[in-house]
Symmetry: D2
Subunit: 255 residues, 4 copies
Amino acid sequence: MVRHVDINVDSGESFGRYVLGTDEIFNYVTSANIACGFHAGDPSVMRRTVKSAKLRGVEVGAHPGFPDLMGFGRRGMEVSKEDLINYILYQVGALEGVARAEGVSLQHVKLHGALYNMAWVRKDYAEALAEAVRLINPSLIVVAPPYSEMERATREAGLKVAKEFFLDRNYLPDGRLVPRSESNALIRNVSEAVERALKAVSEGVVKAVNGEQLNVEVDTICVHGDTPEAVEMARALKDRLIEAGIKVSPMKVFI
Amino acid sequence: MVRHVDINVDSGESFGRYVLGTDEIFNYVTSANIACGFHAGDPSVMRRTVKSAKLRGVEVGAHPGFPDLMGFGRRGMEVSKEDLINYILYQVGALEGVARAEGVSLQHVKLHGALYNMAWVRKDYAEALAEAVRLINPSLIVVAPPYSEMERATREAGLKVAKEFFLDRNYLPDGRLVPRSESNALIRNVSEAVERALKAVSEGVVKAVNGEQLNVEVDTICVHGDTPEAVEMARALKDRLIEAGIKVSPMKVFI
Amino acid sequence: MVRHVDINVDSGESFGRYVLGTDEIFNYVTSANIACGFHAGDPSVMRRTVKSAKLRGVEVGAHPGFPDLMGFGRRGMEVSKEDLINYILYQVGALEGVARAEGVSLQHVKLHGALYNMAWVRKDYAEALAEAVRLINPSLIVVAPPYSEMERATREAGLKVAKEFFLDRNYLPDGRLVPRSESNALIRNVSEAVERALKAVSEGVVKAVNGEQLNVEVDTICVHGDTPEAVEMARALKDRLIEAGIKVSPMKVFI
Amino acid sequence: MVRHVDINVDSGESFGRYVLGTDEIFNYVTSANIACGFHAGDPSVMRRTVKSAKLRGVEVGAHPGFPDLMGFGRRGMEVSKEDLINYILYQVGALEGVARAEGVSLQHVKLHGALYNMAWVRKDYAEALAEAVRLINPSLIVVAPPYSEMERATREAGLKVAKEFFLDRNYLPDGRLVPRSESNALIRNVSEAVERALKAVSEGVVKAVNGEQLNVEVDTICVHGDTPEAVEMARALKDRLIEAGIKVSPMKVFI
């Protein structure tokens, strides 16, 4: 049986005159998580990003975040479960509307930034995500870390889940990411990052910061596209995976 | 043949802790124009408003406005045609997403405030509306003033149009509304307003501020719901129309 | 020696077309905390509120909050200390600018909502407040709960502090407020609230929800002005204090 | 008598994670117009920009714009005169507050983008600017085009005016700028732009797009700092002015 893996990237993060990231990355990924106007993105940026993804055969998903443009959605916020469900409905719906104008249907939903990190471990936030996806379109795949509250809640809601691995992030022994505030949060060496990812995909293990071996399950690998180095890393990843006989395909092909 | 007319009201105009308007008005109207978060409304307000409309059998439409919460969408803005198309796609899509969670499909689209007034006479804004509706869902009815650029553009795009009459607004001889900045912009006398509307519906005429008789075509009558007096006026209108043998029905029944 | 106490109220909480609260309350208070545009308020609301306070002899202070209009500043946010200092500088400066146009100088600063509650116990937030006030205008009085991190930090920075008591809120045994999410957060009975406040001012004690007696120090009493009942409660408080021989004066008179 | 001229640049236009412009330009200018959070800028960006300007001996002014972050303040808006006055008070006050934390006083005020262009010819907007500056701090210098409504209104209000010339913009025969939407709006050739500016400063004339000679008065020259080419142009300008014996000084030195 052929082993498949998806590569996803956050995109559509420009806003008005502000430019962030480059569609160059679309040559090396299979799924794009598009910001929906709360933490980044505006309607015209969203439209251009969907169009650009479509041209390059990249599948599109919604990337809902906290309503905090000034903090780029990277700051924790206390939001009621009811409000959070509605924020996700709103953002997914907005992207669906914009994408339909380009003849594109959504493939998946992935939370952004602090919201993703909080829903990793908070039951209420994880359930809000599952409930929103169930209500708006239960055929959407939810991207979530393995063994997280998010994975549990979406699975219990009967939704499809794509388990995510982070290409350039170090892991804590409990399976979570080393916070960005720590100096060793990021792996900057391209070949180290790529070999780790390959091992995670093919053997289901990754080494945590304390040297312990963690079990992981990998359906999709998250890369970044906001620096030339990040684009270079994504390219190396894709090449290495193909070389190792792994098929790089959009998650909807195999989930 | 039975004569039908729709009654529409702007709704969902609260925001966060700020409350504006009352769902009491839903007892006297057939269509609700729901604010989509740009000039008013937030995701939770939108959800509650859709739910409340559904409970009372009121049809739901999107009410896109300029991105100007501080000015409640009542201030003119210069927006490029491309951006405007995308702003409308975004807002309609967001409401669709929220409404789907309540099992509700949209019936119509009506622009809000300054955007409505500008698209009345500006070809680029009118065409942006038509283009957005055509792209996102060509079965949506567009609410527009008769003889306006909006009516022309939506008709040319092959879309359905509901021609609108304003219950409590005075008309200029050219068929436009007396601006809110003028002292005689509003008709405050309930029976005067109601009789004008009845005449507009049954005879197709209304008297302009200068005494001239204007031809009008009326598919839907716009009422307000943000004061007790406004609710009273809507109630009197509905009663009078029914008394005169006119059927008060959602626009989708007869358009 | 005459015993003085100040009565303060949150005000200027309207935004654009949205109206919240009434200046009627200004007849019964000596200090107004004016929202600065982050959680509520806009430049024109701020100007009108300063003008109205001045006309009634009410002293004016800044009421900085989190940048969260949708949540009215009542939701916790993780903000870096550096950003928080700058958010407070910005908001206090903005109000100073608007107030100067009315010939009014600021008397005090009081944090709003979730920011106030978090700075009560979080050292970094408390220190951000003290640092911002020290930098922008060290003669401003800081309103803070007694025994709080806020009180400690402002005192250590050499700033003047007004210790605050909440008229209509129940207290936990640790001296903090019962959260709004609890059913017994609010005291709704006017005479009960007023007698509690009088006892707090004159005897320095208040009964916590578990029946325990808490020591308090009271320079200023916080009242609400957003409902007719709240205005009634403020009026009763002022009358009762005066009747008991306590002088109701702006905090700058005695701090 | 020594001939002085100021060089000004729009700065502090980053927002949250979005970076725009570079402080590199501060080596070649004498005055910085700092965005105040409405069209660009946030409190922490403002603080860093003031600090950076101070370190390089660059004087600081407020750069108020329309409340339109998504449009970068470059889109026309209809705002009432009263609201506009208050928007300017708010923004200037906010920057004053932030600047005071760095021990810096403001030197000037210059409107941004569409607001600048509209106040060039609209009496109500020009008067709003003059009124706001008069109320908040009449010692601030107002930057305005010669022969504009802005210049007239600020002069009539008894305020100091610095007349502005645009280094890289073509002029219409009526003395206004060729709109950015036109292909010949910008002068991209460095030496052409610099020689034009020198002639404008030393002889008081510039050639309009139709070849006609326009009279100009120049106290300050506006340069851009958001591209490497723009920085290059500013450097060439400063060098050429000094070479020609003109003293490049902050406007407050000679106005």
